[in-house]
Amino acid sequence: MRRPARHGLFALALIATLGAPCIASANLTAISVGSFGTHMSVMPDLVMYPIGLNECLDTSVTIPITFTLTNVGTGTTVHYVDVWTANSPTVTCATGGIMGRGNTTTNICNHVSLPSDVNSFYGGTTFTMRVEPSQLFSGCSTTNTLTFFFFDVTSIGDNSTTFAAGSYQTLTITLNTTPPQTPTVNGPLAGDYTVEIPWSVDNISSLGIAGRVNVYVVGTGCTPVWPYADGAIPDASTDAFGTDVGLDMNVVGPDMGAVETGVSMDAGVDSGLDAGTDAAVYLSDAGTSIMQFPASSPIEFPTTLLGWQHGTYNNETVLLSVATVDTSGNTSAPSPAVCVQHVQAIGFWDRYCAAHGFANEAGAATPQCAQHFNGCACSIAGGQGDDRLLIVFGMIAGAFVFRRRRR
């Protein structure tokens, strides 16, 4: 009689501790996260490449979290995915009571309030919950890494039940609200067919695998600075090393370098290059974004994007600014604007064509030059050369014939 009694007590205790949640709900046995925003569809991505500030604030971005359930039953009871988050990695919110979700003194676990149309379901063995990042990170205000606990329950806010291992799921998500470093761009720059913009940050790898660079047109009409007297202003390649004190745009005036806090960056003191246009620069991205590039330096793009045509030079200028974008989608403050001017570049072909009468007034090669020297598909018209070619071809052909006959 004693042994069955002990077994009965043990069974009751087991039901009391583990059976209650099993009876009340199904088990969440697997979890997966679908792709959203700039993220791939694997869960570590959420930690390695956190949710960015823009993604967090964008209510159109939702994180699809899919659960696999067992022990669902056949009833029509509405189930809920109850979400809690721990304020420390060492806290497990699976525990009910004062050691976990029920601790109302220090709130080591916090309940995440979700609309019922987000976290309610019934029937089926899989359930996808689409939750906005701002619902997980209230206010999207600070960079934070949180571990979320997902429980399948029949009533929201249960803070007393202790869930057994394997009956719930966790997910760690990082929110990154810190913008990447503002790039440094050295100018002035010039280009004919293309413009190269060398830029730098202290650690380019901090932008992540999907880091990008935005280029903004923030104004036109900067004072032409090209060409200048040889050596008067070192070119872009030397400016990067700071060896040109006193003459280039970066040095004169207070606005090149640190990002300013006002609306106007320079009040027109720096070489007259940007008076009246810097307001657009600092209004973070208020300029026209002309293109987004991979995060490698230099950026290179055709001047046709600026409306410039090779062979036509009217001292066209434009002010460009550059901002970095990290993998989370956070955008840096724009760099100080640099003046870019459309100038004629002379290369080998321009010189060769000019020497043979195939250049325009500006000294640029004309299209007729390329047509004239295209070799005419190797057809040689007349002349002694034909005979010599035929002789060599004949010698080679004869050699092959001779070898075949020997065999």
């Binding site: 004919d192 067919y193 090209w226 004629q344 570049a345 072909w349 390329a370 020297f373 080679i396 070898r403």
Partner: protein
Amino acid sequence: MRFVSAVLCAATIVGLASSTTHAQQRQTRFDTPAYGTEWSVTPQYQPSPETFTLELRVGAYTPADLGAPYYITFGGNLGPMIGAELDGHIVRVPYLGPIVVGVAFGWANWSSAAQAPGFTGAPVGSTGMSLVMFTGLLGWRIDGLSREFDIPLVFTPKIGIDAGYWQTGLEGVTQGGGWTVGFHWGAQVALELDFLDRRAAHRLDNAWGINHSEIFFEILGAEIGPFSSSMLPLSTSFTWCAGLGFTF
């Protein structure tokens, strides 16, 4: 006494039988192959047929006929030109060496900073020109010194025709391009490396069929493009290349 003798006799027979058995076991273990067989079967080196020669080369190439535009833009840029040549041995002249026909491929690139007109200080992007050269050639590998007198030198005069495709551009944009054809000559001296380690050379032949490896130096010239005004003259009257060669 007779019994003792019989026992001794029987013991002797048994002992002999036993030793015979051991002897037979030893023979069984070592009889095939017999001692020394492995030494005696070392084959005498028989060179494999020599059918092709492959050359890997690098050298200078300056298209001097382009004149001042080339020198102003690229200065003394020598290229380099890198390439490869494959010659087929079609007939061997006794005591002298094989006559060969071959094909060759070469690539050269010249680049420098582009500049604004009348301004030489500040580069505006870059400018460049590249040339891909295809050559058909006829040559005579005179290896008689090496084969008949163990002097490891091979001399090879060559003539051929060139077909080159060139492109030139500015700031990454192609401005012009086309084909240019012409003639080619070359004179090569090669040092066969077999004498450094003949056994290694023989093993290389046995294993890979490579009869000879060599280093070579070649002087060459090309008349490319002067036969038509529509072709870019990319001739070079005298230049050089060097590299590695393998006859197999």
